[in-house]
Amino acid sequence: MIRVPRSRMATLLSGLVAAGFLSACGGGGAAKPTATVIQNKGSDTMVNVAQRWAEEYRKVAPDVEVEVSGGGSGVGIAALLKGAIDVANASRELKPSEAEQAVRNTGKQPKGFTVGFDALAVYVHKDNPLSEITLGELGELYAEGGKTTRWSELGVKIPGVSDDTIVRVSRQSSSGTYEFFREHALGNRDFRLGSRDLNGSKEAVELVGSTLTAIGYSGMGYATPAVKMLKVAKAKGEPAISPGVASVHDKSYPLARSLHLYTLGEPQGALKAYIDWVLSDAGQKIVEDSGYVPLSRGAAPKP
């Protein structure tokens, strides 16, 4: 039984307590520390929703504090593999090599929970007349060896611009969004070098919003009035689908992805309670409010 007084000491030790609690009291079940901190890190796409979860969860369980930070899915997963945090947010799936490394470092198998969905939207400036794009065109634009460098090559005339060179906005390579885009829009080909690689979903959308000739990609929750989301078609001739709740659920939007939480081993105690809450109606409501797509009714968490 671990009892920690609510004091500064508790805050200092709570990381340890949380870890110790999980391993030492796993069988006990009855143990309940009075103050627990859950360290949560990872995806920039999910950082907004994770922060809202943390704030709301404090009202539900005042004795549990969830500390959220971003950095990218890769950063969160790297920290989880070292055992430095309790939960990693990831907008991509854990790779088999990463799971192996977690077992090697900590002796525990990472466990994933799908907590919502996101559509990766392709953004252009609001004054750009383009309204839809195919995955093939995105590949020509973004992938290594691609030929498209000017808007006129896509048949687009941007008003009031003399130099219509396309400004490609991309993400830093630790971003789950970057990897998802590479996998699903570029078919795992490499990015063509020379894109502006920004450190954050919001920053990418902002740059597109302030640059007439830019194109970029980011979670659909980050849309602003200055940008326009393009409809995306799988190939030429196929219908172009705009990102949204319905098109994500029926999987017709080609760049939809699931959002995950990863823990080391089966979560226990306060951590389990938190994840259960995230998957509950209250947690899913926050997913929806943040501009993402909640789990459809009756969807079971990913095994």
């Binding site: 950095g71 990218g72 890769g74 950063v75 790297a78 593999l81 070292k82 990463e98 490394q101 130099d163 060179t165 400004v167 830093q172 390579s173 630790s174 990897e179 590479r182 996998e183 795992n188 490499d190 990015f191 070098l193 020379g194 894109s195 502006r196 690689d197 920004l198 450190n199 740059l207 302030s210 640059t211 007439l212 000739t213 830019a214």
Partner: protein, 311 residues
């Protein structure tokens, strides 16, 4: 204290300082010597540990040093063809630094000449305090300035599509290196003996002729050292260039292109690279490369400074 101490002092009856004072002096001397040597130890240790983290990748078959140095393909996380070429990053570092120096050297040296030769003492004190304040601004704040104020200004005046680019980074770095150049340059000019000035004036030289014909040649080494220290500052700067240069890996063709520098690349990618992976080791190798560049610059500056002292 040894038991035969009184006997010693009886045999040598000249006045002696208390033993503890002597011992304290020796201890202090040893301590000071240690702090002097420790700087060398630290530099050597840092170099050793950075290189040790990087070394295993050097012997990997997949890794080629020629590619690392001379290829501009930087694909550390590629799914099917990982390539570690840092040429674009090195070019990025040098292009931003070169622009920064092109802007900072005339201003820095000019300000140093003005401070040391032309201005009245009261103005000088105010200016010196202000310039020192300039060097106290944290680099992340400079980054903000680049990202917001400067980037808008550049888009409005040049019509560039994106305001974070070489020009932006170069201006920010110039602003950061000017204080270094001014304070060391001023010292160098001050170190020129007054007899030179008096001789110049006695020969009927104007103030400008004095500066141009006498002081600049005499203080040449010191001014060069000031510039090289400014270069060192610019090459090693991370946060401001990370924010102001646009973070695009490619070899730039104009001042309005975005680039990525060696330092910014390490800062942006080290967090995600799993410890012990090739990517992680290559980033450390990049650190070693950076270390060698700044080391070479500082060493040159040092030799030059020693050149002045010998005169």
């Amino acid at each position: 204290m040894s038991p035969d101490a009184p006997k010693d002092s009886a045999r040598f009856p000249r006045p002696q300082r208390p033993r503890f004072a002597v011992a304290l002096e020796h201890a202090l001397e040893a301590l000071i010597r240690l702090s002097g040597v420790s700087a060398i130890l630290f530099v050597a240790a840092i170099f050793f540990f950075v290189l040790r983290e990087a070394a295993p990748v050097l012997v990997r078959d997949e890794f080629s040093l020629a590619q690392f140095l001379f290829s501009s393909d930087w694909y550390p996380t590629s799914a099917n063809n990982v390539r570690y070429g840092t040429l674009a990053l090195t070019v990025g570092t040098f292009s931003v630094t070169a622009l920064a120096m092109a802007l900072a050297v005339p201003f820095g040296v000019g300000a140093a000449i003005y401070l040391s030769e032309f201005c009245v003492p009261r103005v000088r004190e105010t200016l010196k305090v202000t310039i020192e304040l300039l060097s106290a601004i944290p680099s992340v704040v400079w980054g903000f300035v680049g990202l917001t104020v400067m980037s808008k200004l550049i888009v409005d005046t040049t019509g560039a599509p994106v305001g974070v680019n070489i020009l932006n980074g170069g201006i920010i770095l110039a602003l950061m290196s000017v204080p270094v150049i001014v304070s060391i340059g001023e010292d160098a000019l001050k170190a020129v003996p007054d007899s030179y000035r008096e001789a110049g004036i006695a020969l009927g030289a104007t103030r400008w002729q004095l500066v141009y014909r006498v002081l600049l040649p005499a203080a040449r080494n010191g001014l060069l050292a000031a510039v090289l220290l400014g270069v060192g500052r610019a090459v090693g700067e991370t946060m401001a260039v990370l924010m102001a240069t646009g973070h695009a890996v490619h070899i730039p063709s104009s001042l309005l292109d975005s680039v990525r520098t060696l330092t910014a690349n390490i800062a942006a990618e080290l967090g995600e690279a799993p410890a012990g992976s090739d990517h992680y080791r290559v980033l450390f190798l990049t650190g070693t490369l950076l270390f060698l560049i700044t080391f070479a610059v500082n060493l040159t500056a040092d030799f030059v400074v020693r050149g002045i002292r010998r005169k």
